[in-house]
Protein backbone atom coordinates (compact mmCIF):
# COMPACT_ATOMS: atom_id res chain seq x y z
CA UNK A 1 0.00 0.00 0.00
CA UNK A 2 2.73 2.32 0.98
CA UNK A 3 4.62 1.41 -2.14
CA UNK A 4 1.69 2.46 -4.44
CA UNK A 5 1.33 5.78 -2.64
CA UNK A 6 4.94 6.79 -3.29
CA UNK A 7 4.61 5.76 -6.93
CA UNK A 8 1.58 8.03 -7.22
CA UNK A 9 3.46 10.91 -5.66
CA UNK A 10 6.37 10.32 -7.93
CA UNK A 11 4.07 10.55 -10.97
CA UNK A 12 2.58 13.86 -9.81
CA UNK A 13 6.05 15.13 -9.12
CA UNK A 14 7.21 14.19 -12.60
CA UNK A 15 4.22 15.81 -14.31
CA UNK A 16 4.71 18.99 -12.26
CA UNK A 17 8.36 19.04 -13.23
CA UNK A 18 7.44 18.68 -16.91
CA UNK A 19 4.86 21.48 -16.69
CA UNK A 20 7.41 23.62 -14.91
CA UNK A 21 9.89 23.08 -17.69
CA UNK A 22 7.35 23.93 -20.34
CA UNK A 23 6.31 27.11 -18.58
CA UNK A 24 9.92 28.08 -18.16
CA UNK A 25 10.63 27.50 -21.87
CA UNK A 26 7.50 29.44 -22.82
CA UNK A 27 8.55 32.41 -20.73
CA UNK A 28 12.01 32.21 -22.11
CA UNK A 29 10.86 32.29 -25.74
CA UNK A 30 8.32 35.03 -25.12
CA UNK A 31 10.65 37.24 -23.20
CA UNK A 32 13.53 36.89 -25.69
CA UNK A 33 14.49 40.46 -26.56
CA UNK A 34 14.51 41.41 -30.26
CA UNK A 35 17.95 41.68 -31.77
CA UNK A 36 19.03 45.25 -31.31
CA UNK A 37 19.07 47.49 -34.34
CA UNK A 38 22.46 49.12 -34.19
CA UNK A 39 22.19 51.20 -37.36
CA UNK A 40 22.30 54.93 -37.00
CA UNK A 41 19.81 57.34 -38.55
CA UNK A 42 21.86 57.83 -41.66
CA UNK A 43 22.11 54.11 -42.39
CA UNK A 44 18.42 53.61 -41.80
CA UNK A 45 17.61 56.50 -44.08
CA UNK A 46 19.78 55.06 -46.86
CA UNK A 47 18.18 51.66 -46.43
CA UNK A 48 14.74 53.25 -46.53
CA UNK A 49 15.62 55.15 -49.65
CA UNK A 50 16.80 52.00 -51.36
CA UNK A 51 13.62 50.19 -50.45
CA UNK A 52 11.58 53.10 -51.75
CA UNK A 53 13.45 53.01 -55.02
CA UNK A 54 12.75 49.31 -55.35
CA UNK A 55 9.11 49.98 -54.57
CA UNK A 56 8.96 52.70 -57.17
CA UNK A 57 10.49 50.43 -59.80
CA UNK A 58 7.98 47.74 -58.94
CA UNK A 59 5.09 50.19 -59.24
CA UNK A 60 6.38 51.27 -62.61
CA UNK A 61 6.65 47.70 -63.80
CA UNK A 62 3.14 46.95 -62.57
CA UNK A 63 1.82 50.01 -64.36
CA UNK A 64 3.45 48.99 -67.61
CA UNK A 65 2.22 45.44 -67.34
CA UNK A 66 -1.29 46.64 -66.58
CA UNK A 67 -1.24 48.90 -69.57
CA UNK A 68 -0.30 46.03 -71.86
CA UNK A 69 -2.92 43.86 -70.20
CA UNK A 70 -5.63 46.43 -70.74
CA UNK A 71 -4.53 46.91 -74.31
CA UNK A 72 -4.76 43.20 -74.93
CA UNK A 73 -8.13 42.90 -73.27
CA UNK A 74 -9.66 45.86 -75.02
CA UNK A 75 -8.59 44.81 -78.45
CA UNK A 76 -10.63 42.50 -80.52
CA UNK A 77 -8.90 39.51 -82.00
CA UNK A 78 -8.40 41.29 -85.29
CA UNK A 79 -6.70 44.22 -83.62
CA UNK A 80 -4.59 41.84 -81.57
CA UNK A 81 -3.32 40.25 -84.74
CA UNK A 82 -2.50 43.63 -86.21
CA UNK A 83 -0.61 44.84 -83.15
CA UNK A 84 1.22 41.54 -82.91
CA UNK A 85 2.26 41.83 -86.53
CA UNK A 86 3.51 45.33 -85.85
CA UNK A 87 5.64 44.26 -82.94
CA UNK A 88 6.93 41.30 -84.94
CA UNK A 89 7.94 43.64 -87.74
CA UNK A 90 9.76 45.84 -85.23
CA UNK A 91 11.54 42.83 -83.79
CA UNK A 92 12.54 41.61 -87.24
CA UNK A 93 14.12 44.97 -87.92
CA UNK A 94 15.93 44.83 -84.60
CA UNK A 95 17.13 41.30 -85.27
CA UNK A 96 18.45 42.16 -88.74
CA UNK A 97 15.98 40.08 -90.71
CA UNK A 98 14.90 42.96 -92.93
CA UNK A 99 16.67 45.07 -95.49
CA UNK A 100 17.62 48.40 -93.99
CA UNK A 101 18.57 51.75 -95.50
CA UNK A 102 20.31 54.52 -93.61
CA UNK A 103 23.09 57.03 -93.37
CA UNK A 104 26.51 55.51 -93.00
CA UNK A 105 29.55 54.48 -94.93
CA UNK A 106 31.10 51.84 -97.08
CA UNK A 107 34.54 50.61 -96.10
CA UNK A 108 36.45 48.77 -98.79
CA UNK A 109 39.21 46.39 -97.81
CA UNK A 110 41.55 46.22 -100.79
CA UNK A 111 45.00 44.84 -101.49
CA UNK A 112 48.04 47.06 -101.83
CA UNK A 113 50.77 45.95 -104.16
CA UNK A 114 54.28 46.91 -103.23
CA UNK A 115 56.10 44.61 -105.57
CA UNK A 116 53.78 43.12 -108.11
CA UNK A 117 56.15 40.48 -109.39
CA UNK A 118 57.15 38.88 -106.13
CA UNK A 119 54.10 39.44 -104.05
CA UNK A 120 51.32 36.96 -103.49
CA UNK A 121 47.75 38.17 -103.86
CA UNK A 122 46.95 39.58 -100.39
CA UNK A 123 44.13 38.14 -98.33
CA UNK A 124 42.72 38.58 -94.88
CA UNK A 125 41.98 35.97 -92.25
CA UNK A 126 39.05 35.53 -89.94
CA UNK A 127 40.99 36.73 -86.91
CA UNK A 128 41.69 40.06 -88.54
CA UNK A 129 38.11 40.45 -89.70
CA UNK A 130 36.82 39.59 -86.22
CA UNK A 131 39.10 42.23 -84.80
CA UNK A 132 37.93 44.75 -87.39
CA UNK A 133 34.24 44.10 -86.67
CA UNK A 134 35.02 44.44 -82.98
CA UNK A 135 36.69 47.81 -83.66
CA UNK A 136 33.68 48.91 -85.72
CA UNK A 137 31.34 47.99 -82.88
CA UNK A 138 33.51 49.77 -80.34
CA UNK A 139 33.39 52.92 -82.45
CA UNK A 140 29.62 52.86 -82.53
CA UNK A 141 28.45 51.04 -85.64
CA UNK A 142 24.75 50.26 -85.45
CA UNK A 143 24.36 47.80 -88.31
CA UNK A 144 27.04 46.01 -90.31
CA UNK A 145 27.07 43.85 -93.42
CA UNK A 146 30.18 42.19 -94.83
CA UNK A 147 29.83 41.71 -98.57
CA UNK A 148 26.21 40.70 -98.80
CA UNK A 149 26.16 39.01 -95.41
CA UNK A 150 24.35 40.91 -92.70
CA UNK A 151 25.84 40.58 -89.23
CA UNK A 152 23.21 39.50 -86.71
CA UNK A 153 23.40 38.30 -83.12
CA UNK A 154 24.53 34.81 -84.07
CA UNK A 155 26.77 35.53 -87.09
CA UNK A 156 30.04 33.60 -87.07
CA UNK A 157 33.23 34.68 -88.82
CA UNK A 158 35.52 31.75 -89.43
CA UNK A 159 38.37 30.51 -91.59
CA UNK A 160 37.39 27.59 -93.79
CA UNK A 161 40.07 26.20 -96.11
CA UNK A 162 41.91 29.49 -96.23
CA UNK A 163 38.77 31.48 -97.08
CA UNK A 164 36.88 33.70 -94.67
CA UNK A 165 33.30 32.60 -94.09
CA UNK A 166 30.65 34.91 -92.67
CA UNK A 167 27.25 33.41 -91.84
CA UNK A 168 28.65 30.15 -93.17
CA UNK A 169 29.23 31.38 -96.70
CA UNK A 170 32.45 32.66 -98.24
CA UNK A 171 33.02 36.38 -98.71
CA UNK A 172 35.31 35.68 -101.65
CA UNK A 173 38.61 37.34 -102.52
CA UNK A 174 39.55 40.95 -101.84
CA UNK A 175 38.42 43.63 -102.35
CA UNK A 176 35.55 43.31 -99.90
CA UNK A 177 32.97 45.96 -99.10
CA UNK A 178 31.73 46.45 -95.57
CA UNK A 179 28.50 48.40 -95.32
CA UNK A 180 27.90 50.23 -92.08
CA UNK A 181 25.04 52.28 -90.70
CA UNK A 182 25.99 54.55 -87.83
CA UNK A 183 24.51 57.56 -86.11
CA UNK A 184 27.66 59.54 -85.51
CA UNK A 185 29.71 59.41 -88.70
CA UNK A 186 32.33 61.96 -87.59
CA UNK A 187 33.20 60.15 -84.38
CA UNK A 188 33.19 56.83 -86.17
CA UNK A 189 35.61 58.04 -88.83
CA UNK A 190 38.00 59.51 -86.28
CA UNK A 191 38.00 56.34 -84.26
CA UNK A 192 38.75 54.10 -87.22
CA UNK A 193 41.42 56.37 -88.66
CA UNK A 194 43.57 56.22 -85.53
CA UNK A 195 42.81 52.60 -84.71
CA UNK A 196 45.60 50.05 -84.43
CA UNK A 197 43.68 47.94 -86.91
CA UNK A 198 45.26 49.89 -89.76
CA UNK A 199 48.68 48.56 -88.77
CA UNK A 200 47.38 45.01 -88.69
CA UNK A 201 45.90 45.47 -92.14
CA UNK A 202 49.19 46.87 -93.41
CA UNK A 203 50.98 43.76 -92.18
CA UNK A 204 48.79 41.69 -94.49
CA UNK A 205 49.36 44.10 -97.39
CA UNK A 206 45.82 45.36 -97.37
CA UNK A 207 44.38 48.79 -96.77
CA UNK A 208 40.98 50.26 -96.06
CA UNK A 209 39.25 53.17 -97.68
CA UNK A 210 36.24 54.86 -96.15
CA UNK A 211 33.46 56.40 -98.24
CA UNK A 212 30.68 58.29 -96.50
CA UNK A 213 27.27 57.81 -98.02
CA UNK A 214 23.88 59.37 -97.45
CA UNK A 215 22.21 56.11 -98.33
CA UNK A 216 23.65 52.73 -97.47
CA UNK A 217 21.58 49.63 -98.13
CA UNK A 218 22.17 46.63 -95.88
CA UNK A 219 20.80 43.29 -97.05
CA UNK A 220 18.69 41.16 -94.75
CA UNK A 221 19.95 38.04 -93.02
CA UNK A 222 18.54 35.15 -95.01
CA UNK A 223 19.52 32.17 -92.91
CA UNK A 224 17.07 30.20 -90.82
CA UNK A 225 16.51 31.10 -87.21
CA UNK A 226 15.93 28.02 -85.11
CA UNK A 227 15.67 28.59 -81.40
CA UNK A 228 13.57 25.54 -80.56
CA UNK A 229 15.92 24.29 -77.86
CA UNK A 230 16.20 27.68 -76.24
CA UNK A 231 13.59 28.19 -73.59
CA UNK A 232 12.29 31.41 -72.19
CA UNK A 233 14.00 31.70 -68.85
CA UNK A 234 12.26 32.52 -65.62
CA UNK A 235 14.86 34.88 -64.31
CA UNK A 236 13.48 38.37 -63.83
CA UNK A 237 15.03 41.19 -65.76
CA UNK A 238 17.75 42.82 -63.74
CA UNK A 239 16.66 46.35 -63.00
CA UNK A 240 19.01 49.00 -61.76
CA UNK A 241 17.60 49.82 -58.37
Amino acid sequence: MKNVFTKHKLMIGLVCLLIGFMVATLFNTNKQPDSRDTRDTWEIRTALQEEQKVQQNLYQEIAEAEKTLIEYQEQTEHQQIISLKESIQELREKAGLTEIVGKGMIITIEPIFLNEELQEYPSINAELLQLFINELNASGANEIAIGNQRIINISPIRDVNGKVYVNNSSIGNLPTDIHIITKDIEKFRDYIEVSEINDYFALENVTISIREQEKVVLPKYDGAINLQEVHVGDIPEVGES
Partner: protein, 156 residues
Protein backbone atom coordinates in the same frame (compact mmCIF):
# COMPACT_ATOMS: atom_id res chain seq x y z
CA UNK B 1 2.32 35.50 -69.35
CA UNK B 2 -0.58 37.02 -71.23
CA UNK B 3 1.01 36.21 -74.59
CA UNK B 4 0.99 32.55 -73.63
CA UNK B 5 -2.73 32.77 -72.89
CA UNK B 6 -3.40 34.40 -76.20
CA UNK B 7 -1.43 31.61 -77.81
CA UNK B 8 -4.03 29.10 -76.71
CA UNK B 9 -6.55 30.89 -78.89
CA UNK B 10 -6.94 30.59 -82.65
CA UNK B 11 -4.15 29.22 -84.78
CA UNK B 12 -3.08 32.37 -86.55
CA UNK B 13 -2.65 34.14 -83.27
CA UNK B 14 -0.64 31.25 -81.90
CA UNK B 15 1.77 31.29 -84.85
CA UNK B 16 2.26 35.02 -84.53
CA UNK B 17 2.91 34.78 -80.82
CA UNK B 18 5.40 31.96 -81.39
CA UNK B 19 7.20 34.07 -83.99
CA UNK B 20 7.27 37.00 -81.63
CA UNK B 21 8.71 34.93 -78.80
CA UNK B 22 11.37 33.45 -81.08
CA UNK B 23 12.38 36.93 -82.18
CA UNK B 24 12.43 38.16 -78.61
CA UNK B 25 14.69 35.28 -77.69
CA UNK B 26 17.00 36.22 -80.56
CA UNK B 27 17.14 39.93 -79.80
CA UNK B 28 17.53 39.39 -76.08
CA UNK B 29 14.27 40.94 -74.96
CA UNK B 30 13.42 37.85 -72.98
CA UNK B 31 15.62 35.97 -70.55
CA UNK B 32 16.56 32.58 -71.98
CA UNK B 33 17.84 29.25 -70.78
CA UNK B 34 18.85 25.97 -72.33
CA UNK B 35 21.45 23.22 -72.38
CA UNK B 36 24.94 24.04 -73.52
CA UNK B 37 28.56 24.17 -72.55
CA UNK B 38 30.80 26.55 -70.67
CA UNK B 39 34.47 27.18 -71.29
CA UNK B 40 36.71 28.63 -68.67
CA UNK B 41 39.84 30.40 -69.93
CA UNK B 42 42.47 30.95 -67.31
CA UNK B 43 45.86 32.59 -67.48
CA UNK B 44 48.69 30.12 -67.14
CA UNK B 45 49.50 29.51 -63.48
CA UNK B 46 53.17 28.89 -64.16
CA UNK B 47 55.22 31.51 -65.96
CA UNK B 48 58.87 30.72 -66.50
CA UNK B 49 60.72 33.77 -65.21
CA UNK B 50 62.67 34.27 -68.43
CA UNK B 51 59.52 34.71 -70.49
CA UNK B 52 57.28 37.72 -70.66
CA UNK B 53 53.96 37.32 -68.83
CA UNK B 54 52.11 38.63 -71.88
CA UNK B 55 52.61 35.29 -73.60
CA UNK B 56 50.75 33.54 -70.83
CA UNK B 57 47.55 35.52 -70.43
CA UNK B 58 44.18 35.46 -72.14
CA UNK B 59 43.76 38.13 -74.83
CA UNK B 60 40.67 39.45 -76.54
CA UNK B 61 41.50 37.59 -79.74
CA UNK B 62 41.29 34.29 -77.87
CA UNK B 63 37.80 35.17 -76.78
CA UNK B 64 36.86 36.36 -80.30
CA UNK B 65 38.00 33.10 -81.77
CA UNK B 66 36.19 31.02 -79.19
CA UNK B 67 32.97 32.97 -79.67
CA UNK B 68 33.08 32.74 -83.46
CA UNK B 69 33.87 29.04 -83.37
CA UNK B 70 30.90 28.45 -81.08
CA UNK B 71 28.61 30.44 -83.37
CA UNK B 72 29.74 28.53 -86.45
CA UNK B 73 28.99 25.32 -84.58
CA UNK B 74 25.44 26.55 -84.17
CA UNK B 75 25.44 28.13 -80.73
CA UNK B 76 22.13 29.94 -80.17
CA UNK B 77 23.40 32.46 -77.65
CA UNK B 78 26.69 33.22 -75.98
CA UNK B 79 27.55 35.03 -72.77
CA UNK B 80 30.89 36.08 -71.36
CA UNK B 81 31.05 35.96 -67.58
CA UNK B 82 27.27 35.95 -67.62
CA UNK B 83 26.86 38.93 -69.95
CA UNK B 84 25.15 37.97 -73.20
CA UNK B 85 26.80 39.30 -76.35
CA UNK B 86 25.00 40.69 -79.36
CA UNK B 87 25.98 41.62 -82.90
CA UNK B 88 27.14 45.08 -81.85
CA UNK B 89 29.04 43.93 -78.77
CA UNK B 90 32.72 44.64 -78.47
CA UNK B 91 35.29 42.80 -76.48
CA UNK B 92 38.61 44.40 -75.71
CA UNK B 93 41.66 43.71 -73.65
CA UNK B 94 42.49 46.44 -71.15
CA UNK B 95 45.54 45.45 -69.17
CA UNK B 96 44.68 42.47 -67.01
CA UNK B 97 40.92 42.65 -67.55
CA UNK B 98 38.72 42.01 -70.55
CA UNK B 99 35.94 44.45 -71.18
CA UNK B 100 32.64 43.38 -72.72
CA UNK B 101 30.55 46.34 -73.92
CA UNK B 102 32.37 48.54 -71.43
CA UNK B 103 31.98 46.28 -68.39
CA UNK B 104 35.30 44.93 -67.19
CA UNK B 105 35.78 41.33 -66.08
CA UNK B 106 38.90 39.84 -64.49
CA UNK B 107 40.24 36.37 -65.31
CA UNK B 108 39.12 33.63 -65.38
CA UNK B 109 36.85 34.27 -68.32
CA UNK B 110 33.81 32.07 -68.60
CA UNK B 111 32.32 31.74 -72.07
CA UNK B 112 28.95 30.01 -71.93
CA UNK B 113 27.02 28.97 -75.01
CA UNK B 114 23.51 27.62 -75.38
CA UNK B 115 23.22 25.00 -78.11
CA UNK B 116 23.72 21.34 -78.93
CA UNK B 117 26.34 20.15 -76.43
CA UNK B 118 27.82 17.41 -78.61
CA UNK B 119 28.21 19.56 -81.72
CA UNK B 120 29.75 22.41 -79.73
CA UNK B 121 32.07 20.07 -77.90
CA UNK B 122 33.27 18.34 -81.08
CA UNK B 123 33.88 21.58 -82.96
CA UNK B 124 35.92 23.04 -80.11
CA UNK B 125 38.02 19.91 -79.86
CA UNK B 126 38.83 19.64 -83.57
CA UNK B 127 42.46 18.90 -84.36
CA UNK B 128 44.21 22.29 -84.56
CA UNK B 129 40.91 23.79 -83.48
CA UNK B 130 40.21 26.40 -80.90
CA UNK B 131 41.18 24.36 -77.87
CA UNK B 132 44.48 23.30 -79.44
CA UNK B 133 45.21 26.90 -80.30
CA UNK B 134 44.41 28.13 -76.80
CA UNK B 135 46.57 25.44 -75.23
CA UNK B 136 49.39 26.37 -77.57
CA UNK B 137 49.11 29.91 -76.26
CA UNK B 138 49.61 28.60 -72.72
CA UNK B 139 46.02 29.14 -71.62
CA UNK B 140 44.36 26.77 -69.21
CA UNK B 141 41.03 25.69 -70.67
CA UNK B 142 38.25 23.72 -69.02
CA UNK B 143 35.09 22.61 -70.80
CA UNK B 144 31.98 21.73 -68.89
CA UNK B 145 28.63 20.50 -70.20
CA UNK B 146 25.72 22.14 -68.45
CA UNK B 147 22.12 21.01 -68.61
CA UNK B 148 20.87 24.52 -67.96
CA UNK B 149 22.52 27.81 -68.81
CA UNK B 150 20.59 30.96 -68.01
CA UNK B 151 21.03 34.36 -69.62
CA UNK B 152 19.40 37.60 -68.59
CA UNK B 153 17.39 39.79 -70.87
CA UNK B 154 19.01 42.87 -72.32
CA UNK B 155 18.82 45.99 -70.19
CA UNK B 156 16.61 48.37 -72.03
Amino acid sequence: MIEQELADGPNELKDLVDTKITLQKLTGELPISGEGITLTLKDASYIPSKDHANQYIVHDRHIHQTVNELFSAGAKAIAINGQRIYRNSYISCIGPVVSVDGTAYPAPFVVSAIGDQDILDVSLNLKNGVIDMLVQDNIEVTIEKKSKIEMHAKDM
